[in-house]
Symmetry: D2
Subunit: 424 residues, 4 copies
């Protein structure tokens, strides 16, 4: 029966994460520089502390050095970590490494895991995920994948262009998606694709530039990459040949949700800052928070954060109980991405010129949160996916029940949470 | 640990309710007339069927003839009932009777329960709740309560005006709020008030008129009432003298939530109708639902209904686990009321001129849902309450942790669901 | 050079219209009954007064008994008339008669004008415009026109179904659109169509029913109509055979704008009512209007009404100076329809339960304004039209200036008002 | 009579400005660096070209070297200049210099004009306006002005802190607002204040730092300033002692509008970029602009830009014809600031990852436009001002016409444009 309590253990973990972020991470934000990023040494020190506090790699199985949390437990811990843009970095659960670790755990061979996963979990190396391509290649529409991998003896030769590859600069390896001709696509809309593990020192894998970007990405930028006769051995294939799009889904649904969790922390902190500001400033003879237009912004932010958190928790439960969660994570991602942007916007507005200044972190949040409405599927795509699902369910209901002209009796409903994990 | 599954028993109850509404209630909607309402005989018949189906008075304890559901169970059943405006009437869980039954269960003496509660649960009589007054009396601001009850020997004499008293026409009794001078208000902003059970045939209790109204209220209208030397005996006092506002809270928090549950059913049905319509109509050479602007409306409605349902479930859990739920029900009521109106509006837009016509129920929903953003506290008041709570929590956090000028480290957060029912 | 002044004569006319509506029309609103409409005798009396006041048929040429106003002058007068739903009826400039008069003036033969236009201008008869059809016929997408007119000797035989024909009950004649096979459509998407003047007592023209509808239409309802071997003589053709869609445009662009003018009056009156209410009520120890959430609603309504008025004036100027105004009236209609609905909604919210009651006209406005976002082209269609125009202009600019990859230098802009009527 | 045409001369000027920006300014944007700004030499060269093209200092009287344009003419020229963030700099009509020139023209002595205005118009020096103070000083609420100027013999000694003073770094002089005790405030809410011309090399005027900020300000940053026994001579007083707030109004109403003009150019260019992008990219087998969710964003942006332009033109006409324009510029500023942010946001969304990257100017626009909703009065303050005006007018109307309980007959309306400049 549905229930919203946290287990005592999770409550404790939540509090410890919150305390760690408050005491150790947030004070280091002063070293974040929008031009030069965050010092490597500082990050190492933060990670050392996180590990000492038992708060490291929360999403990874214990055998690989992580905390082995479920999606639901991650919901709580990632949100707390997300109060600072440095928090997920400190806990080694930031994008894209976090999703890559998940993918490697699910798909990699034991050798690949030793070589790539272990040092990644340990925080010794970083990684990137090379899927997106510049137009006319694979962007929002993955079927446009242009990069090809061609077998040559026991090797593969990869050619193509990648774009907006986050964290590439300084990464040790990339997981790269390429079109492979080893089979016919079942889905006529999508080519067969495979994933390759490419060491970044491969001479055929060149970083062209860091793309200057609205968000300040502190670690490794968003890079443009050229693959030119990039040769990799057979062992570089991640999982089975031809299964690239399937693995991308394995990576994307949870990764979409962990993005939401981290960004929800940003939204909550933005609201906290605005509330504290509204408590301590006066204007027109009254505490700022007593002005109703300010109160309205605070109330709407609190309410939407609450709804966001519940949607994340629910989608995490769907994934934990074996659902694929495509529909739920699409709804959650779309909603949370827009909420985060609204909450940061309102908080910045409440803080006025202080909000605009970099003295508060809101201006940085404002820049950084905006792309979240675009990456991992722009809101427009997700809305199309959601509607298609609703319409399909309505069509099925109409078949089951006979057509009712007024459309009244459609049931069961698609959007009801209890349809998932019914066996639990 | 948080969980979103329904128990098998509740899942079964949900399905039975849905089937009952689909098979027995919705076909009767054709007898709903916006001018003359719904025929009494038809309603009696519906209630007979609901009782036969084991779906009657779901919110009332079994000893009084109900089903004894928890708030969480009600969340599911009331939503299903709410798919038709007639559904809650059929199940005898519509406002204002439902809230009055709850209040009587909590506060009434055994004699009062036998006299008022039992026939009310049985559906033999109806009731009303007489609190709101015309300006300058108690409306949004209850401290303006003008109606007075003065003790005269063993009787009370009540004088005042009431307004927008739903269901008064044809009710057997009213629960009436009046200012009593038997004590000093502890809260200087609010007068002492008491509740009285008044039989509607009391000559001092006169219905002036049914107020013509945007919503089509089928049973008993929204009435204007004059209390002129209305004499009631000592036994007419409901609960303790002077505790009226406390009891109003007892009634309001759950009643606010049950409103949300019922209206969510209206939203879901509106979306279902629109989806079915979009599946079966064509325009500009394409199925209507394939047009992205239509898809967008459907996706947003589905997402907001999902968020609404989770917020209702959460608030129900808070009440079930002993929280007072004031903050959560304020957030939920504000959010759901606005979602319901948006969903109905979008669904009507999708159905075009069919949406405007009364051939579909959307036009009736459109009229009927609008007042929900006003009654039970207009959105503006709830937003003020929500913001006050957020600001108070931020102030407390600042005290605990010391003032941090940038406002960064506010914690714990007010809006997190796990703060309630921690003992569970 | 652009200028926003009213001529002294127009200012005087505006004031006289406002005074007439305030003194003669609004007091009669009490006789409006949502079930039975407005008494015929009362309307006749109002029209007699309007004519006496020199305020009758403002849009019609003087030779036919009107005031001969330009679109810009109509902008001002129609808005004032629109303060009451009865105002345009009183001045004989309400839909659909107003648009029909315009069409007859432009297209009808002298005989047709004497027979139909003159009594229509005089207010002796009413008319309707029969274009819309039930699915799968012509609704949003006019190319789906199903009604046919077939020549038989010197007669035409018309067959088909019409739907949502406003004002049909009690009208003396209909202007009816039908597909005619006298030629090939130039535009492959649209069939050839012609317009016919049909007397309502034609036995082949049957009113099936008044469609119950969200809006309370006081005069003639929205009707469903069956044309069954409806025979009309050659002289019943309005204009040239095969030019029906062209004439529909002649009727629609100005009719779209006059709708906006009248509805803007409703928006302005709604704001006026809310402002006066906010000035005279108190809650929580303060005048209602001093509460910032109320102030915000008032400010946004005033601002959006201001923007709407300017857009209407501008589009009227485009039409007055010879532009076809398709792009401008699409923008204006979409924007104004949404503004009117928002303004009425906010005003109703400000007035709380008074807003919901029919004691104020807001509840009636709320119901009546909603269809305006659907008829005359739903917002979704207009948005598509607007975007297509912007995209086309951008493509042309790119051709002229050469393709600039960053898309920076697109010019001239489509949306700039000065492109129209440059010759003036 | 109202009219929306541009004079041939203005149309020509518009085209020349557009061509200049397209051919000379936009190509230089590549030298804009978000970290180091725009090279001085490049700016000098641009200004030389603008002067040669007869497009320099459009807002200044010809006797001082400007083009002597009216507000209406400025509406058109400033918008065109605003297509690039460098455009107003090139034409020497960017904030804060533009507003300072206006103020000096209106208030300065001949000597002050020669010393400060002439080189400012010539582009030889820059200036700043030092009014805003850090809390608890004058920010949104100017009555909190803390900086004081005390007379000492023939000198004034100024002390206080200023904050967010745009363009201070590298400016030649500041216009500084300080509280002066030479008289009693007439308005009890506002202190007496005066304006002082302070050379930036005055040792008592110290720039503490450039405040890191969300927007990338290319010239002179947003600075924090300390005035410590800053001594200025009697001749440094600008205008009359004690009239500072009056002069601030002289500066603010037009300056508010010129901000809108320039930012509207940014909005228009953002839409142009998005439209061109939507014309040239494909996704899911269709041109991007054919996807309705994209079309919707384009249509709404075009419509809101259109409304914004009309509001700016109208407010310019009010100022040109002698109105004080407080109400109109408040509405316009609030509306346009929000439109610009929405349009940039939508355009960025349409361009996807290209929008996020700095390869297009949208990301820079996104950061730079956000503060416009805060400076020159945050939207919340303007909404309060607008509502107050509407409520006041409603109260006056009620007095004139007698109180009508239903609030129906309020007239004349506050928000109607024709009330201004009636004498014209």
């Amino acid at each position: 029966m549905f229930d919203f309590s946290l287990s005592p253990a999770l409550m404790d973990l939540k509090k410890r994460t919150a305390a760690f972020v408050r005491e150790h991470v947030i004070p280091e934000e002063r070293y974040l520089d929008e031009h030069t990023g965050f010092p490597q040494e500082k990050l190492k020190e933060l990670r050392r502390k996180a590990r000492a506090a038992g708060l490291f790699a929360p999403h990874v199985e214990e055998e690989w050095g992580g905390m082995g949390l479920s999606m639901r437990e991650m919901s709580v811990v990632f949100e707390e970590a997300g109060h600072s843009l440095l928090g997920p970095l400190a806990l080694n659960c930031s994008a894209p490494d976090e999703g890559n670790m998940h993918l490697l755990e699910m798909v990699a061979t034991p050798e690949q895991k030793e070589r790539y996963l272990r040092p990644l979990v340990n925080g010794e190396i970083r990684s990137c995920f090379a899927m997106t391509e510049p137009p006319p290649g694979a962007g929002t529409d993955p079927s446009l994948l242009h990069t090809t991998a061609v077998r040559r003896g026991s090797e593969w030769v990869i050619n193509g262009d990648k774009w907006y590859i986050t964290g590439a600069e300084g990464a040790a390896f990339a997981i790269c998606m390429a079109r492979t001709e080893d089979g016919q696509g079942q889905d006529s809309r999508q080519p067969r694709a495979s994933m390759f593990l490419i060491d970044m020192d491969n001479p055929g894998f060149q970083i062209i530039r860091e793309i200057p970007s609205l968000d300040a990405n502190f670690v490794g930028g968003h890079c443009e990459i050229a693959l030119r006769d990039c040769v990799v051995p057979e062992e570089a294939v991640l999982g089975a040949v031809g299964e690239g799009f399937k693995y991308a889904q394995v990576r994307l649904a949870p990764a979409r949700l962990t993005h939401c969790m981290r960004w929800l922390g940003v939204a909550q902190r933005s609201l906290d800052i605005a509330a504290q500001y509204a408590n301590t400033r006066e204007s027109f003879g009254q505490q700022l928070g007593k002005h109703q237009m300010v109160a309205e912004m605070i109330a709407d932010s609190a309410t939407e954060i609450h709804a966001s958190r519940l949607m994340i928790w629910h989608a995490a439960w769907v994934l934990d109980t074996g659902g694929n969660g495509k529909y739920e994570t699409s709804m959650t991602k779309t909603y949370v991405a827009e909420v985060v942007n609204r909450v940061v916007d309102r908080s910045l507005q409440i803080c006025g010129s202080h909000g605009v200044s970099m003295d508060l972190p809101l201006a940085l949040f404002y820049r950084s949160a905006r792309p979240f409405r675009i990456y991992d599927g722009p809101s427009e795509i997700h809305r199309t996916v959601i509607a298609r699902q609703v319409l399909k369910a309505a069509a099925q209901a109409a078949q089951v029940e006979g057509f009712i002209p007024e459309g009244a009796a459609v049931s069961p409903k698609t959007s009801e949470p209890e349809h998932h994990g019914e066996g639990q």
